[in-house]
Symmetry: C2
């Protein structure tokens, strides 16, 4: 049994859930729109599936749902934001227009968010910047889950990185990928559905290869994607999102009852592509994109998300009845 809801109806439901568990109306409006956009486009491991976790974090006080970020105009190309222990998306929304303005006048701009929580996909953080015509990169760290190449135990977060590029008369090209061989959310989803993990993505607490999601979750580790090269990227993301923001490293763990996140950091870099690449930037990027989609079965990153978005806009978002009922129960 499934239920189909419009984006607007589902956003309103998520909004009620967040407000009823201690989030301010302003913050809930931002978070519910993002959570539903991720449910609509995928990956679903980072959409509605995360809502009960967000509720737990709000209830326990691990995240402040009423946080009002403080924005500091630090330098002509740099904005610093203290998220005041709220979700990073709220901090980003508070500073986005200043980042865009700086990027347009300086050629490149950077936003460093600290004391924040990130418990969702990363692509919604860069897509709006590309919709404003900017190329954007984002880096965020998570709690320790990933073992460095050659190492024995979890150290890095799953450390996603996202990239967005504006397009000609189309939604931006956006990718968002974990530095881990598999996102932690996918491991949680596999456990929930009683599935095993693919070989070569996880270790158990003794450092042995495992395909059991529980063995990974209980003190095991995820491997970086692409061996030592993915490990280098995870290291870079850790530096970018924690050392460069003043946020916590993944390994700086503390007691966080009901908390799935670190009060970590996020770094966003935005570039004005016409200022450096000239007025033909989009034309030239389209020339590259065309060659990708004409090359055998290659696809552009994000194409599947755009297809899902189109389907959901036309037919609504389909949920299992039980999942929908659980959300309704959470909202009252």
């Amino acid at each position: 049994m499934t239920v189909a809801l419009s984006v607007a109806a589902l956003t309103s439901l998520v909004n009620r859930i967040l407000v009823s568990h201690g989030m301010s109306e302003d913050n809930a409006a931002i978070m519910s729109a993002i959570v539903v956009a991720v449910e609509r486009d995928g990956p679903r491991s980072h959409g509605l599936f995360r809502v009960p976790g967000m509720v737990e974090m709000l209830k326990s006080g691990w995240v402040d749902g009423h946080a009002v970020p403080s924005v500091e105009d630090k330098a002509p190309g740099l904005v610093l934001v203290n998220a005041q222990n709220g979700f990073a998306q709220i901090a980003l929304a508070a500073a986005r227009s200043l980042l865009i303005e700086k990027t347009r006048s300086q050629g490149i701009g950077m936003l460093a968010i600290r004391n924040s929580h990130h418990f969702c996909a990363l692509w919604p953080d860069v897509e709006p910047l590309a919709e404003h015509g900017l190329v954007a990169l984002a880096f965020v760290n998570t709690r320790s889950y990933v073992v460095p190449a050659g190492g024995r135990a979890r150290l890095y977060g799953t450390n996603p990185m996202a990239f967005a590029c504006p397009r000609q008369d189309r939604p931006p090209m956006v990718w968002d990928q974990a530095s881990a061989a598999m996102a932690h959310g996918e491991v949680l989803l596999a456990r929930r559905h009683g599935k095993t993990l693919p070989a070569g993505v996880a270790r158990d607490r003794d450092g042995r290869p495992t395909t059991d999601p529980d063995a990974m979750i209980q003190g095991g580790a995820l491997l970086p994607f692409g061996a030592y090269k993915g490990s280098s990227i995870a290291l870079m993301v850790e530096i970018m999102s924690a050392a460069l923001t003043g946020g916590h490293f993944g390994f700086e763990d503390d007691n966080n009852p009901g908390g799935y996140t670190k009060n970590a950091g996020e770094l966003v870099i935005a570039i004005d592509p016409e200022m450096s690449g000239g007025p033909l930037f989009r034309d030239r990027a389209e020339g590259l994109f065309r060659r990708v989609v004409e090359n055998g079965n290659a696809r552009l990153p994000g194409d599947r998300r755009h297809a899902e978005r189109g389907r959901a806009t036309e037919h609504g978002i389909t949920l299992e009845r039980a999942a929908y009922d659980a959300l309704v129960r959470l909202s009252v």
Copy 2:
């Protein structure tokens, strides 16, 4: 039979080779120092091994050895350089101090080089910025060699990306890695030494897996590292280094007799880490680095290069007698 030379002696030899084949003294001083630094530190596939190719490119006129880059102070955070068909390293050297100055005042700065050639390792382009206390990223594209994930034929360059982070009382932590499963220089080196390639890194011209370096070189392709995630990174590097600089894409191939490179682009981003991360930036980064090296057999990227550097500084750089003789012949 081997010969051991000091870094100074080898630099002087490479300098003579480049000058005698049509490079200006100023440009040869920059290029010889970089080529010998790469030979000293590794990977050797990108050091002296590249000198005969550089000579061919100079002799054929594909690269202008006398190029004087033109530097444009485009915006408070952005420097544009037209390399005037010379090597990218010359353009970078001409604009580095302006990039550093901009980064220190703006918080973040960007250098976009176009109409340039890159035929060497990428790490020497970011290490000096980290020695000046900055975090730096560099992106460069090459001629088409890499098939996109799911695709049939070469499209992306091997598209290396480099990252540098300053350290406390030590040389910077620097990594430099191709988006390809293997660097093209390593394929050339394997062919020269009559070795096969590892499984899973290359395809032949018909799209079939191959371990024969020649089959890859003759119209075949390299795979991206880490499947679709490495493919996304190769795509990003192509956009960063070509579309954002006005340089050529890897696939914009033309007749280039004696040319191993595209007249492509390079993008460098520099960040002032103390301005965004605060005065404890280096302390905190050291805390992360310490945890990496204490984790099983994990190593920091670049550790092997630093060990090689120490050995070469003490004992000189060891060359096969035949390779040394060939260099001497090239120098007269």
